[in-house]
Structure formats: structure tokens, C-alpha cells
Point group: C2
Chain length 313, copies 2
């Protein structure tokens, strides 16, 4: 049996194996993903992002527990696109994993940043697709929110939750509209800390300046204490409510089109490059070319155009 | 006269114009860059990275001032790859710019993250090339160091300076080897603060665990107070010393080959994709395909292979 067949039959070890193959960028992984693709599109995808130290992992834990009591199976993709300076984040995820380790209704996978030809968002989408196809009802994509990478990653989700912490009050004015654009829900976590109300109020008033059109979604600002579980049920309710709004407003169709268009472009870019690059390396042509570029007797711009002329029809 | 000719004749307005055209991804920009390419490769490229709030901008200011007293012209590319959560960084750069605003020997350009088909490191390299061709002796590439993007960016430089701040002591153990790998020099800035010595000591002892081979570069750990200029001359001396080591050890050749190979691959990827993508959009083929993908009657993996089959020879 192929990995895809074994995954569809519910074998979690086959899923873990395919995810490793995706990591290693094996050509066979594309075949398996192709076979799984018709079985995707059923899971509810939730993106969770925010700065390091905002308590995202604990919050994801609690959200997972809440969905488990509702009888839902939960997949978690923990993505750390921020390599050298935030190594601690991955560490945190590893420790966190133990809690749901014996629960067969929870499947957790960590993704780090290096070595992804097509970008981390492409790999994250592939892993989320595997979880979707293996029957997870909810897939949570958690990422440390600091850059463009993670914006691309959370855009894979249906609902994006931005997690903040109190005391960002001074900085919040400097934060560009970007953060307001990506969030469908805002959570001020560690709400027992000083300044939680102020941070929530600041966020809410910044959101008011965003002009909403008739019938558009107005992102709520919620407060949680993930450590104690306070506010988690309200958060899950708000996620479900956003999902319902997506379906009923027709916004889901637009969102899915955008997402699949972006993923398609990434895959096309990656595959085109690989097809041209591999033979270029094999014949030693590239080393000769590189000699010329380093010596400034050739320029990369016209060299690329020549290759395009030769390889594309 | 072409922009390239005007830039080579020393016209800074033409350089600013070309940089805007690079931002806007105009095809004409490639022609100008091609013409400038033979005139590049003279500037010393210094990369400066570190977490937000480490005082990088102030340090870059001081380094710039130091090179100015040595009669060197300095270009600064300030890159902020970290969009939503660190809007403050760009703001800081804008304020900083005033200091050298009336100095014709300093040329400053900010780059933000969005809309770069070929990635921010490609655009940064193009802008650095323009500065190089226009006769800047030193080009400083400054970036907020939090993700893979900025690692790619600092790899454009000959010498990479990693800036830290005291009080990272607790976290430093959790930081992966990544940070040790990218730095040629380490600076503990704000050295008047508590814990500066400890942070410097921690860094130094972590570096000792890295096995150096005979003749390899051993990254020094320096302390600065950028606000007061303390330690800046020692830092500049260390940068010059690293540059000399690169030249004498032959390491510079390897470094430049790697860099140009990476940039070539990025450019090739970007151009291949653009050539295939533009006609795909024009004939409405893509919308039909996307309908199928969203409905799960088509899968993106085989669709991409069909396009490759059709367009590549």
C-alpha cells in the first residue's frame, strides 16, 4: 500500500513518514500529496500567531483540549520561521508536546525553517493537507509571529488569531496596520498582568479606525489567561462564529481561491526552478558561468535571460 | 543618458531613481543593473544584524561616522524584513537618517518587505550593487535580525556583525548555534548596562565550543556603547581585520562564489516563474484551473507538472 492509502486508512505512522518525506523534499512525496488532495478541504484551519513569549503554545494547548471535549480530532502544525534568534520557541513546543502525547485524537508536528525550496508556507500547507486527509477535524497552525514568512503561513488558515500580551501599550502605536489586517480575532493573553485592559482597549480603538463595510467581519478583542484556561471557551466560540460568518457571507470562497492561487504559484515556481537548475549543475556549465560572474566578465542578468531563451518554449 | 551612465557619472538622483525602479520591479531596472554590474565588486560590504532594540541604528551611525573621518564614502541599506510586529524599526531608521542627511558622502536607502518576487535578499543585493557602482567605499547592510530572511540578507556581506544586548543571558543558552554561525564579529551593545560582562562572557564561552580549524577566523566579542561612541573604533578595526583575513586566507573567493551562486539562483527562479506565469494569467486558463482545484476535481501537483511539460524543452 502507498503511504497515501495507509494515511487514508488511518495509520498515523504513515502520516508521520510522509511528513518527514515532505521535509526531505522527496519527489515521491508529491505523488502521495497528489493522491491525498481529493480528500482534503474538510478540516477547519485555525492560525495562531503573535510575538515570542505571548503564550501561544499554552493557548494552543487549551484550545486543543476544548476541541477534544467536543469530540473533535485536532492536528497541530507548530512552525518556527525565525531561526537564529528565537531558538527557544521550538524548545517550548517540544516540551509542550508531552501533554497530548497519549491522546490519539491529537497529532502534533513541528516545522523549522531551513531547506525548504518552495518556502515554509508551502511545506506547512502540505503538512496541513496530510492532517486534513487523515481526518483531523481541526488543524491549528501555530507560528511565532515576527515576519513576512509567518504572515504567509497564517494566511493558509480560515481564521487567524493574533495573540498579544499586556505591556505592549507603548509599542502598539508604532505597530503598522499589518497586524490589524491579518487578525480575524485578537487575544490579549496573560490578562492577569498589569495593563491588560489598556492593551485590549488600545487594540479595540485601533480596530475602530479601520473602516468596515456593511456585512464585513469585525474582529473581536478577547482576553485570556491560558495558564488557567480563563477565556478559552469564549475564544473557541469566537473562532466558530468567524468560521460560520465565512461560510454564510461567501467570504470562504474568496479566501480559498486566494489561498490555492498562492500555493499553486509557489509550487510552480519551485518546480520550474528545479527542472532548470538540476541539468545546469550536472554539466558543469554553472561553474564556468559562475567563474565569469565572479570575475565580472559575465553578468547574471543576461546569463539568466539566455537560459530562459534556451529552456522555455 | 541611461540611468546607469548617470549613476556612473556620480549622479545620486539617478541612483535613487533606479532604486525606486528596483522596488517597483520594472523590467528596465534589470537592463540598468546589467550595465552597472561590471563596475561592482569594489565596495567593502558590512552586514549588521541583531534583535529589535539592540541599538543597531545608532551603531551603524557611529560606524558610518568613523569611516567618514577616514575619508570613505558610505552607503547604508536599512532592511526591515519583519513586517507586522516591528513597524517601529523602520520608524527608527527614518529618524536616524537626518544625521547624515547633509553629507554627500553618505547615501541611505530603506527597504521594506512586501512585494518582492525574488525575495528581499535579491532586492537588497541589487541596491547594494547600485551603491557599489556609484563609488561607495563601504556599504553597510543593516537588518532586524529575527528570521531566515535576514540571515539571507547578511550573507550578502563580507563581514557580518551580530549585535546583542545585556540581559539576554537567560535566553542565550536556548539560542541555537545559528547565531554563532552567522557572526564574524559579536558586539554587546549598551555595555554600560548590568549584565554586559556576563553576556559577553557567555557568548565567548559558547564560541569556544565551536571547533575552529587551523587558520580559521575566530570571531571576537566586543563591547560598545553606541550612544556615546565607546568601543566603535575597536569595532571598525575588527571589521577591517576580518576583511584582511578574508583576502589573505583565500576565504574571500569562496565567500563571493557562494554569494553569487545564491543570487543567480534567486534571479533565475524569479525570471522563470514570471515568464510562465504571465501568459497563464492572460488567457484565463488559470481561473479555470483554480476552479478545479478549489472543487478538488483537479490537483495542483499534476497541474504544475502539465505546465512544465508544455513550457519547458
Amino acid at each position: 500500500m502507498s503511504l497515501a492509502e495507509r494515511i487514508l486508512a488511518g495509520e498515523t505512522r504513515a502520516a508521520a513518514r510522509l511528513m518527514r518525506n515532505i521535509d526531505d523534499n522527496l519527489p515521491s512525496a508529491r505523488e502521495e500529496l497528489r493522491a491525498l488532495f481529493p480528500h482534503t478541504g474538510r478540516a477547519m484551519l485555525i492560525g495562531i500567531t503573535g510575538p515570542p513569549g505571548a503564550g501561544k503554545s499554552t493557548l494552543v494547548d487549551q484550545i486543543t483540549a476544548s476541541f477534544r471535549t467536543r469530540g473533535k480530532r485536532v492536528g497541530i502544525v507548530a512552525v518556527d520561521p525565525t531561526s537564529p534568534f528565537t531558538g527557544g520557541a521550538i524548545l517550548g513546543d517540544r516540551i509542550r508536546m508531552n501533554r497530548h502525547a497519549n491522546d490519539e485524537g491529537v497529532f502534533i508536528r513541528s516545522l523549522a525553517t531551513r531547506g525548504y525550496l518552495g518556502g515554509l508556507s508551502r511545506s506547512t500547507a502540505d503538512v496541513a493537507n496530510v492532517m486534513d486527509a487523515m481526518g483531523m477535524d481541526v488543524v491549528i497552525i501555530e507560528t511565532v509571529g515576527v515576519g513576512q514568512d509567518e504572515v504567509d503561513i497564517v494566511r493558509l488558515a480560515h481564521t487567524t488569531v493574533v495573540v498579544m500580551v499586556p505591556g505592549m501599550g507603548d509599542d502598539i502605536q508604532a505597530i503598522k496596520a499589518g497586524i490589524l489586517e491579518i487578525g480575524d480575532l485578537f487575544v490579549v493573553n496573560k490578562a492577569d498582568r498589569d495593563g491588560a485592559d489598556r492593551t485590549a482597549r488600545d487594540l479595540a480603538s485601533m480596530l475602530e479606525f479601520t473602516t468596515f463595510t456593511e456585512g464585513s467581519w469585525r474582529p473581536p478583542v478577547l482576553k485570556t489567561e491560558a495558564q488557567r484556561g480563563t477565556g478559552v471557551e469564549e475564544l473557541v466560540a469566537a473562532v466558530l462564529s468567524h468560521h460560520e460568518w465565512l461560510e454564510q457571507s461567501g467570504e470562504m470562497d474568496r479566501l480559498l481561491r486566494d489561498k490555492h492561487a498562492t500555493l499553486f504559484k509557489t509550487l510552480l515556481k519551485e518546480r520550474l526552478f528545479a527542472e532548470v537548475w538540476v541539468p545546469l549543475q550536472k554539466h558543469g556549465d554553472f561553474e564556468v558561468l559562475l567563474d565569469g560572474i565572479v570575475a565580472r566578465t559575465r553578468d547574471p542578468y543576461s546569463a539568466v535571460e539566455e537560459i530562459i531563451e534556451k529552456r522555455l518554449r
